[in-house]
Symmetry: none
Subunit: 187 residues, 4 copies
Amino acid sequence: MVERILDAGRQVLGEYGYEGASTSRIATTAGISPGSLYQYFPHKDAIVSAVLERFGDTLVSGVTTRMSGHFEQPAPVIVRATLAALLDGLDVEPPFLRAAVEHGPRLDDGRALRAFEQRVGELVRAYLTTQRGGLRPDAPLDTAVWMLVRTVEHLTVRYLLDRPLIPREQFLEELTRLALNYLRPAP
Amino acid sequence: MVERILDAGRQVLGEYGYEGASTSRIATTAGISPGSLYQYFPHKDAIVSAVLERFGDTLVSGVTTRMSGHFEQPAPVIVRATLAALLDGLDVEPPFLRAAVEHGPRLDDGRALRAFEQRVGELVRAYLTTQRGGLRPDAPLDTAVWMLVRTVEHLTVRYLLDRPLIPREQFLEELTRLALNYLRPAP
Amino acid sequence: MVERILDAGRQVLGEYGYEGASTSRIATTAGISPGSLYQYFPHKDAIVSAVLERFGDTLVSGVTTRMSGHFEQPAPVIVRATLAALLDGLDVEPPFLRAAVEHGPRLDDGRALRAFEQRVGELVRAYLTTQRGGLRPDAPLDTAVWMLVRTVEHLTVRYLLDRPLIPREQFLEELTRLALNYLRPAP
Amino acid sequence: MVERILDAGRQVLGEYGYEGASTSRIATTAGISPGSLYQYFPHKDAIVSAVLERFGDTLVSGVTTRMSGHFEQPAPVIVRATLAALLDGLDVEPPFLRAAVEHGPRLDDGRALRAFEQRVGELVRAYLTTQRGGLRPDAPLDTAVWMLVRTVEHLTVRYLLDRPLIPREQFLEELTRLALNYLRPAP
DNA sequence: AATGAATGAGGGTTCATTCAT
DNA sequence: AATGAATGAACCCTCATTCAT
């Protein structure tokens, strides 16, 4: 039933965005009564927050899965593939994505977003650690991870929401470059 | 009078954030009646949008001013100084900054935000053009600008809102590196 | 307009009692919209409380007026007349009276009820002071007033709400006796 | 099981008052499920009513017990002792007492309250009958009983709920006097 | 008998917007 | 132009009661 509510919440957010996601709409979509929502969630924003959390989990899992087994490939290939996976995972209904980025930071104190960025950060950090050789030796790892995670996340989201006149392949190409060059040793 | 409304809107957003910025609060702060707001703006979000637009203008002006006359300095210096100016300009009341990034994209179809990014983009593009020599010759300029603008903007905002444990100097250092390395020619 | 709301509140409480006095019913009865209630009262219970307060004021005024100019009459006559006035003043729609006694103590921390009893207490105290001669000399005045006020109030209300098989004249007779005998000197 | 529900109801009313006495809270406290309440009571208020009825029974029993065997004592002594017993019996958690007096009259058509007052009335009537000698010969017995019962009940409750600055001994003294003087023969 | 998830009508309240003055 | 009282749709949430299991 929690599942049904989250599915409904996800669907309503995708169709109507955060403002249009009233509890009654979510309940109707889930085929239940408004009161039932409150058997499983303390208030509306907890539903939205949970939907975002699940979305984040799915996203990280998907990316991780798609990456597994390609770690032997050269850096540009694997990084680009990862970014492509992220781009695909975030390519959802714009109202939903907008709700995620506009309200995620506020809901449940940003729990869902922080968890997502935390997990992506771990992936990045793990990767960087294996690559230590080719990196600037003086790079502050924590800071670098912090920046890379937010950069790729934000650029991907903006690419999907603003639909700039940039071909997808070029976008991935450049984003890969941005990430890889950042930690390249000074010449 | 428009000015008075914008000042009030700015102040209210800074103190109460977007959710707390009711029309009556803005009117009271401006010393006028709620109804009068509608003589100058078609609806509430138009006020917020105009506040954001003015903020963006001020920001760009400030950064531009602070940059003028330093163009002869080496790239890392001038870039870093620009980013520092941006960081200072964005260092406002968190509720206001949050309102700007969470609601700016939606209000008036993102007009204020687009204008801001457009102008920052022009600065970046102008700079890159003068630097053409030291860049990857194959870099797609438009795309690069698009990415750089959004990257520095977002990282700066996140740095201010999330207050990660990264020293300001290091943050500026790394952000500068991220930007400069991106377009470095391949080795 | 406050007047209109109070009238409507009074009427709705009289017809439907406290439970049936929804804000929308009050607004409809007042011929205004639900939202307008909140321009004049912070929440529903403030309306009810104000209605009760006004009722208490009216009641005390009425009793006081009806008493004025009869102070030279013998004690039993004036006391009985006062009680009759109180009985008449409280003889309103039972749902209203019930709302007053069941919810008055809670609303606004019992403000309306306390004010009413306070003022009735002053009347009683004033009367007793003039009668000092015929009273038990050891009677604790404050305590006596406290008891008399609540006794006549409660018995009157109960008489009206429970409609016991006691003729009105007899009720007044006995209530008068109860009050007067209480402070009679010991034989 | 009925017993368990009544115990739970009593406890919940004592802790949370009428408004806080939700069926689920009562069920939880009783260690059963909400649905099971309806196997033994037709609706929530029937539970509250039954709790009040039981409380009234206990109260009357207690007072009666404490009185038995003191009937030979002089009137002021026995009356005062009875009132003291009543005061003690009513000295329970304020939320419970409040619930009893504010909602008792309404629940189950006032059944619990009427039963209580009926039984107290019988005690009073029995006492008065034995005292017939010292009373006003013209006193309408039913009316006198009706008034005395409600007077002592209400004043006692108000004394406990409002906590006026009246010492307990004085309160009992005066209440005793109020009751005894009422039926004293005219001088 | 017992469960407890599901119900759903109804509640109080907010606030952007309007419009008679 | 300026007012600000009035609007009213829409919101989130509660909880006594039901009923399939």
